[in-house]
Amino acid sequence: MNLYQWLLFLHVTGAFFLLGGIVIAGILNLSAIAKDRRPSQVASLYGLIRFAVPLIGAGLLLTLVIGLWLVHEADYGYGDGWVVAAIVLWLLASALGNIDGKYQRQTGELARRLAAEGDTPSPELRARLRDPRALAISYGSGLIAFAVLGIMIWKPGA
C-alpha cells in the first residue's frame, strides 16, 4: 500500500470516529429527551455520552490533519472552493460542538445532583433538556459534520 492509501484510510477512520461519535451522542441525547425520564435515568444516559467525547475529539483531529495532508498528496489546492468550504464547516461544527459539550456537561451534573436528592422529575432539568437554542446548536453541529461528508464525496468544483 502506498502513502495515499494509508492517508485515505486514516482520514476515513477519522470521519467514522467523528460521525460515529456524533451519532452515539445524538441517540443517547434523544433517548434522554424523548420521554419524561427520572434524573437518575438522564444521568445514566449522559454518563454514557462521555464515551463518545474522545471518539469525536480523535475524529476531529484525524479528519483535519490527515485531510490537509491528503490535499497536498492528491494534488488538490488549499484554495479550492470545496476544501475551503469543508474547513470552514469543520471549524463551525467544532465551535458549536464545543458550546454544546459545555451545556451538556452542566445538564449531566444537574441530573446527577437531582438523582442524589430524591430522584423526582424536575422542571429545571426538563427545561434544560428541551431548550430549543441548545437543541439547535447540538443538532446543527452534527448536521454540519454530515454536510462535510457530502462535500468530501461530491467535491464541488474539483
Binding site: G20, I22, V23, I27, Q41, S44, D75, L149
Partner: protein, 150 residues
C-alpha cells in the same frame, strides 16, 4: 499522486453508503454501550437500559444497515456491472455485511429477551456481539478506503 476522479453518477450511492455505514457504526456502538451498562446495577435499571438497546437496534441500527447495504449494492452495480469480476476489497465489504446481517438479527433477538427478563443469561452476549460487529465494520472500512491490492 493524483486522486482518482469518480463519475458524478457514483456520488449519491457512495454518499448513502457512507452515511449508512457511519450511522451503523454509531448505532452499533450505542447498543454495545447500553448493553454493557445494562449488565450492572439494580434489575429495574438493567432492564430499562437493555430495552433501550433493543429499541435503538430496531429503530436506528436496522434502517442504517439497510441504507449501508443498499448503497453498497447500488454503487457496486454501477462500478462493476453485470458479471464483471469484483476486487478483493469489495468482497471484504460483502463478507462483513452478509454474515453481519445474521449477527445483527441474533443480537436483536437476544436483546429482546434481555429486555424482558432481568435474569436472562444471554444478555451478556448482546454488547459483545455488538463489539465484534464494530471490529468487523473497522475491517470493512479499512478495505473500502485503502483498497489494498488495487
Amino acid at each position: 499522486m493524483v486522486a482518482i476522479v469518480r463519475p458524478d453518477a457514483w456520488n449519491l450511492p457512495l454518499f448513502l453508503h457512507v452515511l449508512g455505514a457511519t450511522l451503523t457504526f454509531g448505532a452499533t456502538a450505542t447498543v454495545a454501550l447500553l448493553g454493557f451498562a445494562g449488565l450492572r446495577g439494580d434489575p429495574e435499571r438493567a432492564v430499562w437500559l437493555r430495552g433501550l438497546a433493543f429499541r435503538i437496534g430496531g429503530y436506528v441500527l436496522v434502517p442504517a444497515f439497510i441504507l449501508m447495504r443498499g448503497g453498497a449494492q447500488w454503487i457496486a452495480d454501477k462500478e462493476y456491472p453485470g458479471s464483471a469480476k469484483t476486487p478483493g476489497w469489495l468482497d471484504v465489504g460483502f463478507i462483513v455485511t452478509e454474515p453481519g446481517a445474521l449477527l445483527v438479527i441474533v443480537m436483536l433477538i437476544l436483546a429482546w429477551f434481555a429486555a424482558r427478563r432481568p435474569s436472562f443469561r444471554g444478555a451478556v452476549a448482546v454488547p459483545w456481539l455488538a463489539s465484534i460487529y464494530l471490529v468487523a465494520l473497522g475491517i470493512a472500512w479499512f478495505a473500502m478506503s485503502a483498497k489494498p491490492g488495487s
